[in-house]
């Protein structure tokens, strides 16, 4: 995969690790090798999937031939290709060796003690359905040990953390605006492992039982017309259940209609909220523009007032020229002691500042800024009112849905009674009996699953409330750390608030310059990325007592000149707790790299690098481009001193 001979070794430093190379030289592959060594060829943790009434929990993977597809097919020893990674978890030394040719663990040792287990290819291991099948294999033992050492409830949590928090790769996925991510992180890290496992299990169970209940309901619905037709010829002894049932159906229809209307209203409000927030952002941009203009005007006016000669300058000058007397001490001076020049000051010899005679009129700008301030106040009031309304409406919706659920359960109960009444009728029709039995069985199963689902939902809600209470303290501390990083990049007041979003979901929302940035589109690309990095680093800093690491691919890609230093400073801040950074760099923003290297050296931080221009796959474009080589050499000189 790389032209580095048969072996390549690199020792990561606690500081900055730079992987330098142009496009296509293998930077992303290198990162993926590290990830693979740590967690396997996985790109997500376990998700519950329904497959023909069977529940399957699967991890998403990269193609099993991922690394082999990137090798030189002419090399004769590809089958021997492997990676060995040495790393540390809570002072435990771990060494793992995996094959790159056919993904599998070859060897693992912890604190120099080998871990026993059967070697199996990951492709086969991933087919196992449960732990009973996995026991005894080296991969299973490795994952269990590592999860234990890291204090996690399962290895899936480590996969999740590495894939979604510790690595910011070229997919450029931001997690701060991902509700599902926030929910998962809160469960896994803001919650005790036991509560987390319980919540996860309950969620999977709810999903599973809900799916089953709906399947049964659909099957029963298919049988209903048949049953109705068969019943049409029978006399019904007891109508009272039917009547109650009809009333319940009416109520259900009414409630469903209310729910649908309310959903429309809420959707409308959400659009209005978005529009309001856009207006506020626009207003803010205009305000800032006007402020800049006013500031320029202020400077001009102050210059016109104060950048003039002292009122007595001319007479002092006359005194020197005509009387040869120093105006400061009144002593006689020789002709050439003080040089008088029309364009420079006789004391400091600097040229006079040109006075700006521009006719400056600022009243219009002031008026406009006052209007913008007034408009902003009104918009914020309107936003607050609409958010409150939205919150109330969402609460109403939840109440209505609960009522709907209760009515549905009532209907189920009455349908059961109606069916049992019908059973007692004089019914000689064998077909009717068979269909009726099938229908009853399906309803029974549907009810059972619906009951289980409801119970699990109630249990999960209680657990959610318990978890929520414990999170408040964490939220405050996390916000403070976030502000520290985010303000470094933005140069504006930054906060992280845990509040309801426009969909009524409670989550972290960044506030920049006191304006909520609920949508990632509310920020420019580079701002979005670095606010997201700030969020990830806050999580790392808050939860890890020992040094950790963060991997970022080509962070300099979207930066403009104004933000280069700020961006570098955000990363440098992360290094303060002896953390390690791994950055891939493609040398298209030298100012960023120069700054980060210089500042890291000043702070006596370690800097390591891998030059993929030498060992990576170079195209003819790279071979012919001297600029990229010169740029790398400049960076190398900076690093090596």
């Amino acid at each position: 995969m790389y032209n580095c001979g048969e072996n390549f070794e690199y020792t990561f430093v606690n500081g900055i690790n730079l992987i330098i190379g142009g496009n296509g030289t293998g930077k992303t592959t290198f990162i993926n090798i590290i990830k693979y060594a740590l967690i396997g060829l996985y790109r997500s943790s376990t998700e519950a999937k329904m497959y023909k009434y069977t529940r399957k929990d699967r991890r998403k993977t990269y193609p099993y031939s991922y690394f082999m597809d990137r090798t030189d097919k002419n090399y004769p020893h590809n089958t021997d290709a492997k990676v060995q990674l040495l790393f540390n978890i809570n002072n435990n030394e771990i060494s793992i060796t995996r094959s790159l040719y056919s993904p599998k663990i070859i060897e693992v040792s912890i604190n120099k003690t080998k871990i026993i287990g059967k070697i199996i290819e990951q492709e086969k291991y991933d087919l196992f359905q449960n732990d009973n099948e996995r026991i005894g294999y080296l991969q299973y033992n490795y994952e269990k040990k590592i999860a234990g050492l890291a204090g996690l409830s399962s290895f899936d949590d480590l996969i999740y953390f590495i894939v979604d928090v510790l690595v910011f790769d070229e997919r450029r996925n931001t997690v701060l605006w991902d509700s599902e991510f926030q929910n998962n992180i809160m469960l896994k890290y803001f919650t005790s492992p036991e509560d987390n496992i319980k919540y996860h299990e309950l969620t999977q169970d709810i999903k599973y039982n809900d799916s089953l209940s709906r399947h049964k309901s659909e099957d029963a619905r298919a049988l209903k017309p048949v049953l109705k037709e068969l019943l049409a010829n029978k006399t019904v002894k007891n109508n009272s259940n039917e009547l109650t049932l009809n009333k319940l159906y009416e109520k259900l229809e009414l409630i469903t209609s209310k729910i649908e209307n309310l959903i429309l209203i809420i959707e409308n409000n959400i659009k209005k909220l978005k529009s309001l927030r856009d207006s506020i952002s626009l207003n803010e941009l205009e305000f800032q523009e006007k402020e800049k203009e006013i500031e320029i005007e202020r400077k001009h006016i102050l210059a016109s007032i104060w950048n003039t000669k002292n009122p007595k300058y001319s007479i002092y000058e006359e005194n020197i020229k005509k009387n040869n007397i120093c105006p400061m001490c009144n002593k006689k001076i020789q002709n050439n002691d003080i040089l008088i020049d029309l364009n420079t000051c006789f004391l400091c010899h600097q040229p006079f500042l040109a006075t700006n005679n521009k006719n400056i009129s600022n009243s219009e700008n002031i008026k406009q800024i006052k209007n913008l301030t007034f408009k902003k106040k009104n918009l914020l009031v309107e936003l607050e009112n609409l958010e409150n309304t939205n919150k109330k409406q969402n609460s109403n919706l939840t109440d209505l849905k609960n009522i709907q659920l209760k009515i549905q359960l009532e209907i189920i109960k009455y349908e059961k009674n109606t069916n049992s009444d019908k059973k007692s009728l004089n019914n000689q029709d064998e077909s009717f009996l068979i269909v009726q039995n099938q229908y009853n069985q399906l309803i029974k199963e549907r009810d059972t699953f619906a009951d289980i689902r409801l119970k699990k939902e109630i249990e999960r809600k209680k657990l959610a409330d318990k978890i929520q209470k414990s999170r408040i303290n964490i939220n405050k501390k996390l916000s403070n750390i976030f502000a520290d990083y985010a303000e470094e990049f933005m140069g504006l007041k930054s906060e992280l608030k845990f509040i309801d979003d426009q969909n009524g979901i409670e989550r972290y929302i960044p506030y920049i310059d006191e304006i909520p940035r609920e949508d990632s589109e509310a920020l420019s690309e580079s701002q979005r990325f670095f606010i997201d990095h700030s969020f990830r680093m806050s999580i790392l800093e808050h939860f890890y007592t020992r040094p950790s690491f963060f991997i970022c691919e080509t962070p300099e890609g979207s930066l403009d000149i104004s933000y280069e230093k700020n961006a570098a400073n955000v990363f440098l801040k992360f290094l303060r707790n002896n953390n390690a950074l791994l950055l891939t760099i493609n040398l298209n923003n030298n100012a960023f790299i120069r700054h980060i290297v210089r500042e890291a050296k000043k702070a006596i931080k370690n800097i390591g690098y891998i030059n993929l221009l030498e060992i990576g796959k170079k195209s003819s474009v790279h071979n012919e481009d001297m600029t990229i080589k010169e740029t790398f050499n400049e960076i190398r000189r900076l690093i090596d001193g």
Partner: protein, 209 residues
């Protein structure tokens, strides 16, 4: 010339000009500093949602006489050197003949002038001794003095401001709320301090409020 000193020089001229209207023909540097300090403090008190136009210009520190600002001293020297103000035994007065003519073109000039006028008038009603006393009661000042800290802020985190705001809610309960929006800042402050000092005269502890 440093923009900050320019800005402060213009403010000092405004303070001296507006002091003249109530009969204070000259001021000491200490009085000038106090007037500007209270202008910044009361601005946040009255216009609590708006950004304070003095905030970015002034940094106050503590000494035994109360809030102090080094930049104001520098600006006074600048004004003396240019003969915009005159010095008579450390009392500074305006040199009418050399007032810059384009000063009124500065952004927010009118707003600042009106505000200084309001604050000076309020302080003149109660006299400088009462101002001095208020500084000594200033919780921010005392807190910083005890903890030997240097800088104080006049933004919304200022302890004095919190203290004044705490008292504000009681005051507004007494005030007929219907009329609150019709009051000018000067009227509001006058009524407020009437209320505060009436409490002081009666011997009621301000922090019980």
């Amino acid at each position: 010339m440093d923009n900050k000193i320019d800005e402060i020089s213009a403010d000092i001229l405004l303070v001296l000009k507006n002091s003249m209207y109530i009969g204070w023909s000259s001021l000491s540097s200490l009085s000038i500093i106090r007037i500007i300090y209270f202008s910044t403090l009361f601005y946040s008190f009255i216009y609590n949602d708006d950004s304070n136009p003095f905030e970015n210009t002034y940094t106050f520190t503590i000494n035994f006489r109360g809030p102090f600002c080094n930049d104001i001293d520098k600006a006074i020297i600048n004004l003396l050197s240019r003969e915009n103000i005159l010095n008579n035994q450390s009392q500074y007065s305006l040199n009418i003949n050399s007032l810059p003519t384009t000063m009124n073109k500065l952004p927010y000039y009118e707003e600042k002038e009106t505000w200084f006028k309001t604050v000076i008038k309020i302080l003149s009603i109660y006299g400088e001794n009462k101002i001095y006393d208020l500084i000594f009661r200033d919780p921010e000042y005392n807190d910083k003095r005890k903890r030997n800290q240097e800088t104080i802020s006049t933004d919304t985190n200022n302890k004095s401001l919190s203290f004044l705001n705490k008292f504000k809610s009681l005051f507004e309960k007494n005030l007929n709320i219907k009329y609150k929006s019709t009051l000018s800042p000067e009227q509001y402050l006058k009524l407020y301090f009437d209320y505060v000092f009436s409490k002081v005269i009666k011997g009621e502890e301000l922090d019980e409020a």
